[in-house]
């Protein structure tokens, strides 16, 4: 099935829960299948990821509206993470876990753009299509997202240092 890993990766990072991510991917593929006649050429992966993204946001608005408005990054809740993903938490360690935590704490709009760029390797143009913003906005969001991630990473590390010591 085309782009299934990409679809799952995006959904998983947006909703931050394994079971919900799978439901969303399934729904998105059914929608893609149903609305295939609406596909007007262009990049099929970007088109599909756009549907995955819309499905993820509809889900969050309906089920977890707080996660869309919470400014997680302003006050890092390090201890709160890991609630829904104990399964993967065990295998991660050190820096990897810190980056994972920091990324989960970023606001969704920065998180999704970083995922699409750094993990999926999409171009600015493709990201602009998926997220439905101008290319200039992609650039500025990436700039702010990377700066925020660096800050959060720093704070997570400090907190981690305190916890260990």
């Amino acid at each position: 099935m085309p782009h299934l890993d990409a679809a799952h990766n995006l959904a998983r990072w947006l909703v931050r829960n394994p079971a919900d991510a799978q439901d969303i991917v399934q729904e998105a593929y059914l929608r893609a299948y149903k609305f295939f006649s609406g596909f007007q050429g262009g990049d099929p992966r970007a088109w599909l990821l756009k549907i995955v993204r819309n499905t993820s946001y509809s889900f969050l608005e309906k089920n977890k509206p707080a996660s869309l408005t919470d400014e997680f990054d302003e006050k890092v809740h390090v201890t709160e993470t890991g609630a829904g993903n104990a399964e993967s938490e065990a295998v991660r360690s050190g820096e990897t876990r810190l980056l994972h935590e920091a990324l989960e704490h970023l606001p969704a709009n920065f998180r999704e753009i970083l995922i699409l760029r750094e993990l999926e390797g999409l171009s600015y143009k493709e990201i602009a299509e998926v997220v439905n913003v101008p290319i200039g906005t992609v650039m500025s969001s990436l700039a702010r997202g990377r700066e925020r991630l660096r800050e959060v990473l720093l704070r997570v590390r400090e907190k981690e240092g305190l916890r260990d010591g």
Binding site: M1, P2, L4, D5, A7, H8, N9, R12, W13, P18, A21, Q22, V25, Q26, Y29, L30, Y33, K34, F36, G41, D43, P44, E95, T96, L99, H100, L103, R117, E118, L119, S123, Y124, K125, M139, S140, L142, A143, R146, L149, R150
Partner: protein
């Protein structure tokens, strides 16, 4: 950190910056340790992303689950109903149909020729790679190709139309030597590749885009042409029109 360079630094880091700004920024980086440090920190961040194994691949079973959930009625093709055709077979057929439809779509990432010309275009913009013969005179550029390739590319200067000829270069496209004619439009460079036609290539004019570059292919008088640039399709189309 020089503020005016902040967003450009990201575009540069992501390979999305045009040549002129890239060169400007590289100059700036030599003089500004803050920006250099900033760039270095993004490189470190990217490396962490790769090392950290953050990618959530689809779990096993998800694909089967989606296939099972697809509508049981075929939408595109009316299939004859037969009693021995069980639901599983129908679902499988739809899944196959879905994959085939998807695969038959034009896919920019498998357009090898487009990838090749874009790679060549980017390489040509690196310092010292753009021109083998620098001249705006078509009567200088055209004879330069004599003896270097086994065909005579049509070399024309379109300075009056706003596309001055900058020079020419020998390149290698589509498994054979090609002439590259370099034109300039304001601050944008345009590479026009010319090589003799072969049987495998379609002859229709084709416009595509890859990695932020616009590409136009066309055929004329037994030659293939391909124009590549970061110029918008409208202006690139004007140059193509001049060639035709």
């Amino acid at each position: 950190m020089a503020d005016q360079f902040a967003p450009l630094l990201h575009a540069y880091f992501d390979n999305e910056l045009d040549l002129v700004h890239s060169l400007e920024l590289e100059e700036h980086l030599k003089r500004c340790p803050d920006c250099a440090q900033e760039l270095w920190s993004y490189q470190t961040l990217r490396k962490s992303f790769r090392d950290a194994n953050l990618y959530h691949r689809a779990p096993e079973g998800l694909e089967a689950r989606i296939r099972a959930a697809l509508p049981k009625e075929p939408r595109v093709v009316e299939m004859p109903r037969r009693r021995f055709l069980n639901w599983a077979a129908v679902a499988a057929a739809i899944a196959v149909l879905l994959v085939i439809t998807w695969r038959s779509l034009p896919r920019p990432q498998t357009d090898f020729l487009a990838q090749e010309v874009v790679a060549s275009h980017i390489r040509s913009l690196q310092p010292g790679h753009l021109l083998d013969v620098q001249s705006s005179d078509q009567h200088t550029v055209k004879p330069w190709f004599d003896g270097k390739i086994d065909f005579a590319p049509p070399v024309k200067d379109f300075v009056e139309e706003g596309f001055p000829l900058v020079g020419g270069r020998l390149d290698y496209i589509d498994h054979r030597p090609a002439a590259a004619l370099v034109y300039q439009r304001n601050k944008h460079f345009i590479n026009v590749y010319v090589w003799p036609e072969s049987e495998q290539r379609v002859k229709e004019q084709r416009v595509t885009a890859l990695e932020g570059y616009n590409i136009v292919f066309w055929e004329r008088g037994g030659m293939y042409f391909c124009a590549v640039s970061d110029l918008n399709t409208g202006e690139l189309g004007q140059l193509v029109h001049l060639f035709q």
